[in-house]
Symmetry: C2
DNA sequence: CCTTGCCTTCGAGCGCGCTCGAAGGCCTAC
DNA sequence: GTAGGCCTTCGAGCGCGCTCGAAGGCAAGG
C-alpha cells in the first residue's frame, strides 16, 4: 500500500529535477517521463479539458515549458486530494482571464485549509499508529 | 472538495467524544453515529471480514466497546490511505493470534512510514499552494 | 389490526480516476 | 517493400470503496 505514496514522492523528485528550460518542447513520452504520469493520463487530462496541447505537422502532441508547469501544478493538487472536477473548474477560471483571479484565489485558499486539516489528521493518525506500535505490538483493541 | 476532509475531522472529534465505557452495548445506528460512519459501511465492513459482530435474540447486531475500538482503529487507518485489502490482512493476522504480532508490527511500521511520507508531500504541496496564493493570485504557470 | 420504524440479507449500482485495447497513421531502418 | 516503433482517436473496462434499494422480520404504539 505504500506503493502509490512512494510513487508520488518519486514523482516529486523527478518533477523538480526535470523542469525544462523555457523554449524546450517535449513529446508526450518525454512529458510523461518528466512529470511522472503516464501518456494515457496526459491524453485523459487533455480529453477532459485540463490541458490544451499543440500538435506538430504529423498531428503528434507537442508540450512546452508552460504545459509542464501546468501538469506539475495539477499533479500537486491531485496529490493533495483535489478532485478532477475542481481542477476542471480551476482551469476553466484560468481560461476566463484576469476577472476570475479572486475566485481562483478563493479556491486555492480553501484548498490550503483542506491540506492543513489533512496534515492535522495525519499527525493524529500517526500518533495512534505509533502508540499502537510501542505499546501493544498490534492488538486490535487500543 | 473539502467536504470529505471536514467530515473526517468531524468524525475524529466525535470518535474521541464517544468512547463507550466498557460493558456498553450499541445498536448499529448508535455505533454508526459514534464512529462517524454509516450503518451501510458497518455492514459492509462486516461482510468483507473486518468485523465480527454479535447478534441479539432478534438477529440485530450488538456492538460492544471492543468493536468500537476496532472500528475507530480501522477508520484511522483508512483515513490515512491504507486500502481495504491491507485492513483485511491485518485483521486476519489478529485472528491468527500472538504468533502474528511481528508481522502486524511490521505492517504498522510500514504504514507509519507511509504516513510520514504523506506528511512530507502535503507540506510540499502546501508550500506550492501558498506560493501561488501570495505571488500570482492563481495563474497556472508557477 | 395496522402503521411506524428500525432492523435484517442480498445483490446491484455508482462515482471516481484512470487504464487499456483496437484500429490505424507516419517515419525510419533494413 | 516491409517491419518496428511511437504516435493518433475512441470507446470500453476496471478496481476501489462504498452506497443503495428491494423484500421482508419484528416489536411497540394508536
Amino acid at each position: 500500500m505504500t506503493a502509490s505514496v512512494d510513487d508520488a514522492l518519486e514523482r516529486l523528485r523527478r518533477q523538480d529535477a526535470s523542469v525544462p528550460p523555457p523554449g524546450t518542447t517535449l513529446s508526450i513520452a518525454e512529458m510523461a517521463q518528466r512529470a511522472g504520469v503516464t501518456a494515457h493520463t496526459l491524453r485523459y487530462y487533455e480529453r477532459i479539458g485540463l490541458l490544451e496541447v499543440a500538435r506538430d505537422a504529423g498531428g503528434h502532441r507537442v508540450y512546452d515549458a508552460g504545459d509542464y508547469a501546468r501538469v506539475v501544478f495539477l499533479t500537486r493538487l491531485r496529490m493533495t486530494g483535489m478532485p478532477i472536477r475542481d481542477l476542471r473548474r480551476y482551469v476553466a477560471l484560468v481560461a476566463d482571464g484576469e476577472a476570475s483571479v479572486p475566485e481562483r484565489l478563493a479556491m486555492l485558499q480553501e484548498h490550503r485549509d483542506a491540506i492543513r486539516i489533512q496534515l492535522m489528521e495525519l499527525q493524529l493518525a500517526l500518533e495512534t499508529d505509533e502508540y499502537k506500535i510501542t505499546s501493544y505490538g498490534g492488538a486490535c483493541a487500543p
